[in-house]
């Protein structure tokens, strides 16, 4: 029984959600990983260092640049005969590609697993995490996406796997990459940060998110948001935390001017410590907060910045 994990990477190495997917795969047995795209030297070297990985497959081909769904799925299907389990992180990339692979293999995918019970049985959240379902697959092969917040990612270093080039056959040319608008930030990524500070509709305007900056700087935090804040145009879409945004489980989550709708809670309620700052003492966010501060955020945030500065 061997698993294959599709990895995502950038200039700084293998991304944390992918390292969490490797952690899930190693619970199942021997683990191989795949890097696909162009100029893969550094990514392949980084993948080979992941602890617990036995082999790195390197698929270098222009058709695989930008991990387009159609060719990447075709590649995974071509590699599938050697594997019992095919995994990726529950990210935009993993969600885009793995169901396509599953359908081509006539398999029902197992989306967003939060735990591995055995080779056929997994726990996954349903109804925005209001239920945890234990599901058993009867398919010969399992196609799985892995909830990053539920598995401790393997370290970036420590392993020494062999690498092997795979030849890529004819790829479906159904889609073309046009452009990307990716935000550059000095801050850690939301799904990898130890601390997340999120703002909601209560922030009232995009420029007020600046009030979160000194706090995030001091705590080394990523900045997130509720859907309402994203919809109002205060911050870009990639800030959204929740059922249909990013799932985070940092050591500390600070929710500012966020009411605590189920869909938002679904994305952060597994955080270790939750702080809520809201002027409405009835706000549902206080039901999940370890520490609640009933206050106007426009007073509380500058005070908090100053207090953190002092201590």
């Amino acid at each position: 029984m061997t698993s294959l994990v599709l990895l995502e990477f950038d200039d700084s190495g293998i991304k944390q959600p992918s390292r969490a997917a490797v952690a899930a795969a190693t619970q199942l047995g021997e683990t191989h990983v795949l890097v696909a795209g162009v100029n893969l030297g550094a990514a392949a070297a980084a993948a080979a260092k992941l602890p617990g990985v036995a082999k790195v497959l390197v698929a270098e081909n222009a058709a695989l640049d930008h991990v387009l769904a159609e060719p990447t799925a075709a590649l995974l299907v071509a590699l599938a005969p050697n594997y019992s389990h095919i995994l990726a992180a529950t990210t935009a990339v993993g969600k885009n590609i793995l169901p396509r692979v599953a359908a081509l293999l006539d398999v029902q995918p197992i989306s967003d697993i939060a735990a591995v019970v055995d080779a056929d049985t997994f726990v996954r959240p349903i109804y925005a995490g209001n239920g945890m379902a234990t599901v058993k697959s009867s398919d010969g092969k399992k196609v799985i996406t892995v909830r990053g917040a539920s598995f401790d990612p393997v370290a970036a270093e420590g392993g020494n796997a062999a690498t092997e080039n795979v030849t890529v056959g004819d790829m479906p040319g159904l889609s073309k990459f046009v452009s990307a608008e990716l935000s550059k930030s000095e801050r850690p990524e939301l799904t990898a940060a130890r601390v997340v500070v999120s703002g909601g509709r209560g922030m009232q305007a995009g420029e007020n998110f600046k009030l979160l900056d000194p706090i995030a700087d001091k705590l080394g935090a990523a900045v997130g948001a509720s859907r309402a804040a994203v919809d109002a145009g205060f911050v870009p879409n990639e800030y959204q935390v929740g059922q249909t945004g990013k799932i985070v489980a940092p050591e500390l989550y600070v929710a500012v001017g966020i009411s605590g709708a189920i869909q938002h809670l679904a994305g952060m309620k597994d955080s270790k410590v939750i702080v809520a700052i809201n002027k409405d003492e009835e706000a549902p966010i206080f039901q999940v907060a370890d520490y609640g501060l009933v206050a106007d955020l426009f007073n509380a945030l500058p005070e908090l910045a100053a207090e953190l500065e002092r201590s």
Binding site: H66, N96, S137, P172, K176, V178, I274, F286
Partner: protein, 284 residues
């Protein structure tokens, strides 16, 4: 990268037909022209405002007597299809729902928003995304739509899989998590919400779109349109009519409540908050 057009079975190949607004004819080959039908699968789910409860016997979620609605992402899908029709790009919108008899209501909602007709694939069986994708493929084979718009995720099973699976079964391109869609000739330009921001892809038609939250703001159906929708046709089929085996591949062994959080405390001041985070929670 080389672009190849996927041949579509049963496609009507005609020459020199009038060109619709927003669609130009590919002059390099025969002009492949046919009315642009859009299929929109709409799922009946527990309303997003309902706080669901796990059944005491751990067999699932309590859905008895709970308010049901169209999956919110599917409302966005219907809205996008209606806008494409209003722009003269689409010619016909077919809303499809798969499940129990009451899915008719979900189809009626889509018809009231502007879909032209409905198809109900009626079954009491549990349908998982693989079965849904196979049933939708069978319908697509019959109807020959040029575009299928689905939600990116059903808020009950949270699978986020059906659109991608349907694209695979049809051999079509896919534009998932779309926040912007434009039809340009024989191509579809889709802006997608990805983890680091936005990405734009150029897709061969026919194609599959799955909707993200910010694609549009769905309209409310007006009373006259709700009345009109009552007269629009809904065709009912059974999975067996479509030759699809819908046996689930995932068996749910149990459903449990997620771990409950301990009730927290209110702090009286920012200073107290910082003190507690430092000395009690030890997270800063």
């Amino acid at each position: 990268m080389e672009r190849r057009r996927q041949p579509v079975a049963g496609l009507i190949v005609a020459h020199n037909l009038p060109v619709r607004e927003g669609i130009s004819v590919n002059s390099s080959q025969e002009a492949v022209r046919f009315p642009m039908k859009i299929l929109v699968p709409v799922k009946r789910v527990v309303d997003y405002n309902v706080k669901v409860r796990v059944k005491a016997d751990g067999s699932g979620i309590e859905t008895n007597g709970v308010k049901m609605s169209m999956n919110p992402f599917d409302e966005i899908a219907v809205e996008e299809a209606v806008r494409l029709k209003e722009k003269g790009v689409a010619t016909e919108i077919i809303a499809v729902s798969l499940g129990v008899t009451q899915c008719q209501e979900t189809i009626r909602t889509a018809l009231a928003m502007g879909a032209d007709r409905g198809i109900l694939v009626e079954t009491d069986a549990e349908l998982q995304p693989l079965a849904v994708a196979k049933l939708l493929k069978a319908i697509a084979d019959q109807e020959q739509p040029k575009l299928i718009i689905l939600g990116k995720q059903a808020i009950d099973d949270d699978m986020s899989a059906t659109g991608q699976m349907l694209a695979a079964l049809l051999g079509w391109s896919q534009g998932t998590f779309a926040s912007k869609v434009a039809v340009e000739g024989e191509r579809l330009i889709v802006t997608r919400e990805v983890d680091g921001g936005l990405e734009t892809v150029d897709l061969a038609l026919p194609s599959i779109i799955t909707t993200d939250l910010r694609l549009n703001e769905p309209r409310y159906a007006s009373l006259p349109n709700i009345m009109k929708a009552r007269k629009k046709p809904i065709d009912t089929k059974k999975p067996a009519d479509l030759g699809v085996d819908v046996t689930p591949r995932l068996q749910t062994l149990k459903v449990e409540e997620p771990p409950k959080r301990k009730a927290g405390v209110k702090v009286g001041s920012v200073a107290e908050l910082v003190e507690k985070l430092k000395n009690e929670a030890k997270v800063i």
